[in-house]
Symmetry: D2
Subunit: 338 residues, 4 copies
């Protein structure tokens, strides 16, 4: 059961509601986000929700049977739309392209990429400055200085910045520079990080853990939401399965499932999802037709020289073609639905 | 190494070629299909293939590094096209829709489905009469009588028949009625069945084993080809992974991979691939954009009454919409490529 | 619900029982095995089974909630014991060792192995003469001649023969020579083969499919049992998972689960389960402690010269040590339980 | 290549060695642990290591081909032994039992468990005070106060404390109370946490990620080691596979593999590995025979009342029996090896 509260709901009113909910056999958790207030009620007893709906302070009340409540579409039927400012919005009504290198490497690289993206009307750039690497001896990224130059050039060109945060202590220094905090697959159940990102007033792009069930994936999003941040983007990026020919196994089944169960926007990362440059284009197009609201693409002026992930990175020419096709498909999609 | 032989290649010439191949450290296997003759040579020694190319009887010779030779695109760059007669062709240059019920249940069902497919310009109907069921107590299909009535109505309407063969002894009785023999996921490594289907002059639609690597999947196709039958359609139908929310995990990564490695047409079965009716449409469209040459769709006039797989079966109205969108996408695909 | 019938149950009595069962909302299947008669009743209605128990012809009746009925321990609490003759018995009260080469290669090999096994008091020899191989160009076994010589030497020395059957047409020619028919992992859901093996009066060793759930594995055993053959040995041999360092991932969790759910003996094949010679010993011992009733071990006088699976095959010296440790553990196990 | 340095190695000597290593085409990383100094050299060039071995400051030099160097057994053939004080040592020469509840719940629970463990001669107690939970609404543990009372009773009885750390900020407050920091499966690739634990002079028990390859698991251990902490215990706790009948799929194959590749002690957690109370005993015994150096067992006086994981938790009577059998096996193991 999910209770939406009026902003004007007084402490006394809240106490009464909480008391009532407990009497009904539910365990209430009060949630205050940057925009709303909720009472998430966990329990299984049958309840006539109208008896709640009329209590002072209650704005609305819904039965939500999904295990994850706040991210469920059972109460919020209008999909969540995330406004990044400057006319850049992530939502189900338009397809979003975010592209950029795996790692930020140099100012020259940033300048070239920003210029390419601007020319291509791509308004979100991805790029890592803190890199999670299996081996401690691998390149771990340029850090905050890299992020600063990344952000500087993006802002000068109206491009939004998405970059991975790996630990709580990075949130504060990253905050001035990113428009979206990205959580990587290895941190998908780093619950403390999720909690802290819930307290930050910037959107979070949450990648699915590589062996995370969809219920647990939504639970990870529920962590962020219940800590206060409603602006979450889910991202499928490939699961760990038995096939050895590709880096990961992109689970596009997840796209229609997540869009059906949750009101959050759902992205796809085909670059990691297959991990082979030649096959990124068909998987990006497939992701769009599966219903993804956006894609994250790894691009680089000279992929063969990239410090990381070059084998799955598109060059600018290839990227341009993928962008063109994704946009043709988007237009067509609108036609088909009409 | 793959050697194509002239049809006129004499036994003596063949002996000489075999002898030469053995001297080079390769193990030769002579393959005679319904249309061609080959010498498949397994080995790793470095060879100047020109010294083979000039031998009498040799039509052409190719280095094929892939472990599976005859199905590899390394020697046959023109994709295989399969002519089913009456203008029905399976190939990479047009998108094929095959649809029908999981199980053939009754004449009435067949009549209605055939009529619907004809109206929709769908020229291949799928339907099972021998059903592989996990439990011995489940419905196992109508058998040959079911197939006979299935084929009778299809033929009267110019529709081709695809149906699953479960064992060698079914090949002969099924032969007069089917246009394509289907091999199910549980028989993907039933090597004797594959061998025998290699001796049959009808196309085979081979479904990927539910935990079969792509290399092994191509090896299963190689069994059929090397036993004599070149007309094989590969079909991705979902793998077994950890996610419990859907029946199988559709591995669309397999589509661009298989199209790149093999010259055979590649289909997709989104109905089994996700197993949830509401999500079949986006997965069918995604499969097409991933590059599939065709789809296999489960449809039924009243899915809720189907004897098997009703939960993943589209009704006629839903099917009609999927067909329409698949065709719009096909047209668009042609535009995009142009 | 499972009804055991008296052998003396007349057709009229059977009809009455069937009628009654149908009235209760259950679907009955009559099963006649080499030793017993049953009525397997599929349904979910609540029934007071005493009303069945008193019907003429009924020996006993049990509620069996497991999806697979005949193989369930819910009605047969005494574990199944399989007598192979000559004092060789497979059961839960003693640990069985079966060993031998992956493939039968030559008479010399058979003679040496038989002699070694006899010396070691191992009374079951495994060896393949029909080999399921991923590639059509790999060695496929010596066939029936190989089996004949394999059996000849075993019989002369009181050793029982277990060998894999790959297709229905092999059952009859193999019948005179084998003591146990083995079904390989790729045929674990070859339902026609299972059905036919149900009609054969020889035990069947059924290997788990490499991605088969345990419920489906028991369903495969149920096929054999419901077709008439009660003498089935279940065998865990490794599943397909993500780890690339070993050939398969031995799922020892399956051992206590299967022993708890089924009355059938449960074996383990650590050779395939890990696929690395150096690690076979610890996994064999682990299988025994997990509760396996026996192991299947690949051994060869000179593993490095074996035509197949040499990398996972123990030489005689290594095998001798594993046998010794398994027997010490068996004795100890008895002590521990005491 | 791994270079061990003398403690007396001067900065000038180090510079010379680094210079030489770079000339040879290797990338050196200087590592200083609580007990030793190393130069980890990443590269593939062929080197005559004797030319390094004679440089001033070099104690020893080894070719280490494994991707993870410091944790490899290729240079340190004597297995790592971890002394916890008070005569409690973790090593390959004796079997370690660690047991305790999933969550610390109350002082009464701690007192009873400590008393039981003392009586059973079990010298390590596990218990969580920070609980990683999929859902944000589940019990998250008693926190530092819980740890304080947990540690107080353990210390008064000579029992060592192992407890999970979930984030960097918990390390300092936990430090006074724990004898071993545990890293949970969801944090197995939380690289910042691993880095920070490398700087702590207390042993770390590192659980394998639920879909972590063994190479990546060893890489996670390499993170800790290369940050300064050599005292690491690897722990297999079940992987995520397709089987739904148990919580996780215990991968005992990992035990002989890890013991062969690494010098670190290898534990097993059969409670999580199968997740079903009745099957924990056979899996614990199996783990021991697979070669595990210790087990982690969940026990509770009244598992049915445990706040978490009750379904996989042994009661004291069951635990006593498992302890007894594990010790009998340990003695026997020594006999068998003799």
């Amino acid at each position: 059961m999910l209770i939406q509260l009026f902003e004007s709901c007084s402490p006394q009113q809240l106490d009464s509601i909480v008391k009532r909910v407990r009497e009904l056999g539910y365990k209430p958790t009060f949630v205050k986000t940057f925009s709303n207030r909720y009472l998430v009620c966990i329990g299984t007893a049958e309840v006539d929700i109208r008896t709640i709906g009329t209590l002072p302070g209650v704005k609305d009340v819904h039965v939500v049977e999904d295990p994850n409540k706040l991210v469920s579409r059972q109460w919020r039927v209008t999909p969540t739309s995330i406004d990044l400012g400057d006319g850049v919005t992530i939502s189900r009504s338009q397809f979003t392209i975010a592209a950029g290198p795996c790692s930020i490497e140099s100012e020259e690289q940033v300048v070239k990429t920003v210029s390419f993206l601007k020319e291509q009307n791509v308004s979100i750039m991805r790029g890592g400055v803190f890199k999670p690497r299996s081996s401690p001896y691998a390149f771990r990224g340029l850090g905050i200085e890299g992020l600063e130059l990344f952000a500087r050039h993006c802002r000068a060109n109206g491009i939004k910045v998405v970059s991975e945060v790996m630990q709580v202590s990075q949130i504060e220094p990253m905050y001035p520079y990113v428009d979206i905090f990205q959580v990587g697959t290895r941190n998908a159940q780093n619950f403390n990080l999720l909690d802290e990102l819930g307290k930050v007033n910037k959107p979070v792009l949450l990648k699915r853990g590589m062996s995370q069930t969809l219920t647990d994936f939504l639970a990870s999003a529920e962590y962020i939401f219940s800590s206060g941040n409603e602006r979450i983007i889910l991202c499928e990026r490939g699961i760990r399965a038995f096939e050895k020919e590709y880096r990961n196994t992109l689970d596009l089944n997840a796209i229609p499932y997540l869009k059906d169960k949750s009101h959050l926007p759902v992205f796809c990362d085909p670059s990691h999802g297959i991990g082979i440059r030649e096959y990124v284009e068909p998987m990006a197009l497939a992701a769009q037709m599966a219903g993804a609201d956006g894609v994250l693409l790894e691009i680089h002026e000279t992929p063969e020289k990239a410090v990381s992930d070059g084998q799955q990175t598109l060059n600018f020419e290839e990227a341009q073609q993928v962008f063109r096709k994704l946009r043709m498909l988007e237009n067509m999609n609108i036609d088909m639905m009409g």
